[in-house]
Symmetry: C2
Subunit: 434 residues, 2 copies
């Protein structure tokens, strides 16, 4: 397992990077201090080594039963409770995995929003099919998943009666408290998995939050956790000079200090689109506070070069770009030769698509750099569960380091309460007054 | 058909809006001048009235045959040649339309990128199924769709022999030139539809580019074009004071002058996600030049309030937000009552989800405004083909007006050639040298 960080040679700020070495090293020490004193939720930092082996065995067992038992697996959760799992499934099996699948249940997400038409469509799709549900909510009280689960719980009980309990799986905080999902699960006898108290939602993909749905999709959890363990080994031990995670965190702060307030994550792989969504939550929620932070955007190339490409090349110069590249996938078709060559593409005949795509990446890196957008290229290994675990850990650590260097707390999210408070007032939730 | 533009009352800049009246009116006159003198490609401006009725009849006829004839309809195109159609289908039938559909073919997009795994998955999915193909490329020489079409053309000819020609539909520039798709189509006998010469890719959704795939999805083209015609009537004739399209274009320039370099389009409707992608191309490619332009981002709420919400509330204050809202859809479930109320949601029992969602929108508008992000709310009618046609025209005109007021040419895209030139050099395309 190996990652390359290629700085576009055209960006002149690189000589300043060493000035950030001390800050980056101090940030890593700070995070390690949180592990020791438990004052911040950094359970994700040691998770690849100290995860609960018995629970992983139960997750594997439950996933095997779910794959046997149902045609539709409904995963109910929002934010960190769905972005990780969805990013993994899309990355491993493609975005059209439900329509294209040959085995295993369709895996559908619910409780991500309050749109009634979306919910009605999913309920209608489930009609007449065998269904299992995994409801995921750390607090167990978040509105969107709670509303969706009220619908699905009713639907399941009407369809299955007492058997419904064996088809409902709950991932939530370990502590049963009144009015929470854990209390309900104990009462009804739903199998429970835990969101460890010392891991926040956006850092939870490698806990049961992500692992149960990912296992149901058919992925190898062992390889996923191994990849994360390799990243932990490398990036929490190596010195700055050989530690690409620390260097990347430092680069982000260097760019930000230089007036780049927007980071564009770009992928040359459509299946990585949802990794972009996972990164957006990770960085936006960790860093966007106290009037600070780099705003994360994402794009899939070459697709979006035909969309935002013009702007990236010639618009306002307020961003830098982080290209997240992967070594070629196993499936890599070759452009066929054509006798007549009417489309003029024979200059590509015999080439693998990965070769063409990689040349597009090199060309884009050069063009954008020349256009005044600093480009970092992070090259990860061939797409696989191991690569994915490595990537998750890399970015979680980079985000925590980067936020710590920025001087904010990368583990809280005080700003998300404000619209909720307004909304609960409008809706007359008990305890909230106009 | 009616649209409301609600400015969040908290933003203090509104009194300055009238100062932009003259510029907005002048921009509209400029666009009308282009219609008269043909010096810029503004065919989309009059399209809802002067479209080719015979071609629409042919599109309807072809769509009916395609729906009869195949299980998978592969739409090959990139940028403006797929974003419009995809946004319409997702908006009308939901993002999971292929997995959830009850009738009609699965509609899959190809030729949007150079990823081999994605292409291999789609080819494998087509194996053993009845397939039709629509290849869409204005120039007829764009690399991504050309590569995908070379694969699919070979696949179709191997499977269907001479019958393949009756299953391949080409949407391209009217003029046959050597080495273009039109030349090939004439030679092979593929049915052709036209991208009018005076309509650029990102303004082409209501031409055959969008209309054939949209018709295959089962949508009512008449209602779609009617909606656009209503928008044309309203927004190209009404004076500034009652013209919300001109006012919106003026607001965008006002915000930009005030240092807001990023526009966040937010939807409280997951099915509108791809409208966000369509808007990104429209605005980024039209405005992002000469070091200028507002960078367009998009989000789906309440989903992404659990992702980028923290940043929007408390991060850097360099953006404004445009909420694109819709009246409630016909399908609008009611939260059921629960005897035990373990989840504490009975305060919502009997309420429609649209009521809860709308309260979330109001609360978010207030919270973000209070947090220092100016919010515009555009409220469109109930989701339908008519609403969609109205929306497309509204934003196309707003974009052209806004770009004209900004002082750039909203109809060219000079910057997209730079990475292509580098790429063609790397790949050894004839005519390009290292």
């Amino acid at each position: 397992m190996k990652i390359d960080l290629e700085y576009a040679e055209f960006y002149k700020k690189l000589e300043e990077l060493s000035a950030w070495k001390e800050k980056a090293e101090k940030a890593l020490e700070t995070l390690k201090g949180f592990v020791a004193d438990g004052s911040q939720p950094v359970g994700w930092l040691t998770l690849p080594e100290d995860y609960d082996k018995d629970e992983i065995a139960r997750i594997r067992d439950a996933a095997a039963r779910i794959r046997q038992q149902c045609e539709v697996f409904v995963v109910i959760g929002v934010g960190g409770s769905y972005l990780g799992a969805r990013s993994a499934m899309d990355f491993l099996w493609g975005k059209d995995r439900n329509a294209f699948r040959k085995e295993g249940p369709a895996i559908c997400f619910a409780g991500t929003d309050l749109d009634g038409e979306e919910l009605a469509r999913l309920l209608e799709y489930c009609e007449g099919k065998s269904v299992c549900v995994n409801v995921i909510s750390k607090s167990g009280t978040t509105t969107e998943p709670a509303v969706a689960f009220r619908f699905f719980r009713g639907w399941m009980e009407e369809k299955y009666g007492k058997e419904a309990a064996s088809r409902i799986f709950v991932t939530t905080d370990e502590r049963p408290r009144p009015g929470t999902l854990k209390e309900l699960a104990l009462k009804e006898g739903y199998e429970c998995f835990k969101v460890p108290g010392n891991i926040g939602g956006r850092y939870s993909v490698l806990s049961a939050v992500g692992l149960l749905p990912i296992a149901v999709s058919g992925a190898d959890l062992g390889a996923l956790l191994d990849g994360a363990a390799k990243a932990k080994e490398e990036f929490t031990n190596n010195p700055f000079e050989t530690n690409l995670c620390m260097q990347y965190a430092a680069m982000r702060n260097l760019f930000y200090n230089d007036g780049k307030k927007l980071e564009l994550f770009s992928f040359f792989r459509p299946a990585a689109d949802a990794i972009g969504e996972w990164l957006k939550q990770l960085f936006a929620e960790s860093e966007g506070k106290e009037g600070k932070g780099i705003y994360p955007c994402s794009a899939v190339y070459t697709r979006d070069l035909h969309s935002i490409g013009q702007y990236v090349q010639e618009g306002e110069r307020m961003f830098f770009e982080t290209m997240v590249l992967f070594d070629p996938a196993l499936s890599d078709p070759t452009v066929p030769n054509a006798a007549e060559n009417v489309d003029g593409l024979n200059y590509l005949a015999g080439k693998n698509l990965s070769y063409i795509n990689d040349n597009a990446a090199k060309a884009t890196c050069l063009a954008h750099s020349n256009g005044g957008v600093p480009v970092l290229c992070l090259r990860f290994p061939r797409p696989s569960e191991e690569c994915l675990g490595y990537l998750y850990y890399f970015f979680e650590l980079a985000c925590a380091l980067s936020g710590t260097m920025l001087g904010i707390n990368p583990f809280d999210q005080p700003g998300v309460e404000q619209y909720k408070t307004e909304m609960f007032r409008n809706l007359g939730k008990p305890g909230y007054t106009k």
